[in-house]
Amino acid sequence: AQSVTQLDSQVPVFEEAPVELRCNYSSSVSVYLFWYVQYPNQGLQLLLKYLSGSTLVESINGFEAEFNKSQTSFHLRKPSVHISDTAEYFCAVSFLYNFNKFYFGSGTKLNVKP
């Protein structure tokens, strides 16, 4: 069965420190990859996506993620976090043969401390 794994359920970090949120998925077949963010008391919203082309994708607020096919990973990184980045982050994948169906990881709660 296809699956998406976010190993870290919670990541505490101090403001202005770098952060990496890990995401691995179960298959090396063609995929589309997404990171969604859920800020406190808000709905999920798209942060960034990889559909094709450059394996490094960026968001407007400084996050980036790199598609690594050999490691079946799509880790999310930011070189310097802000208090406002405190949120829950979900990795999502859709796999070849059934792009209709999205698999979400269990989420990583990023807690940025002053």
């Binding site: 359920s9 969604y36 709905g43 999920l44 798209l46 209709n100 979400f104 269990s106």
Partner: protein, 113 residues
């Protein structure tokens, strides 16, 4: 508004009752998804509608769960004979087409007493 709208925002009901959850997708979005988010868990795929095609029901956890989408727009998720384990936030999302980024509603928080 222009976003995905879900109603009710909160629903409390007794075990054994039936509930209906409604989703109004963004106008023109042909793809519509239902997910369930239980406490401390990720999003669990329930069902997917794409245009007039047969829905992908592979995520529905039991035959107590069903969903329909009328006229390619509004969708209703029905849970019959609710159980306490059905307590969760039910999220609806829509997108312009399959595998395009999804736009999520704020969800319905369902509590079964």
């Amino acid at each position: 508004g222009a976003g995905v709208s879900q109603s009710p925002s909160n629903k409390v009901t007794e075990k054994g009752k039936d509930v209906e959850l409604r989703c109004d997708p963004i106008s023109g979005h042909t793809a519509l998804y239902w997910y369930r988010q239980s406490l401390g868990q990720g999003l669990e795929f329930l069902i997917y509608f794409q245009g007039n095609s047969a829905p992908d029901k592979s995520g529905l956890p039991s035959d107590r769960f069903s969903a329909e989408r009328t006229g390619g727009s509004v969708s209703t998720l029905t849970i019959q004979r609710t159980q306490q384990e059905d307590s969760a936030v039910y999220l609806c999302a829509s997108s312009t087409w399959a595998f395009q980024p999804q736009h999520f509603g704020d969800g319905t928080r369902l509590s079964i007493l």
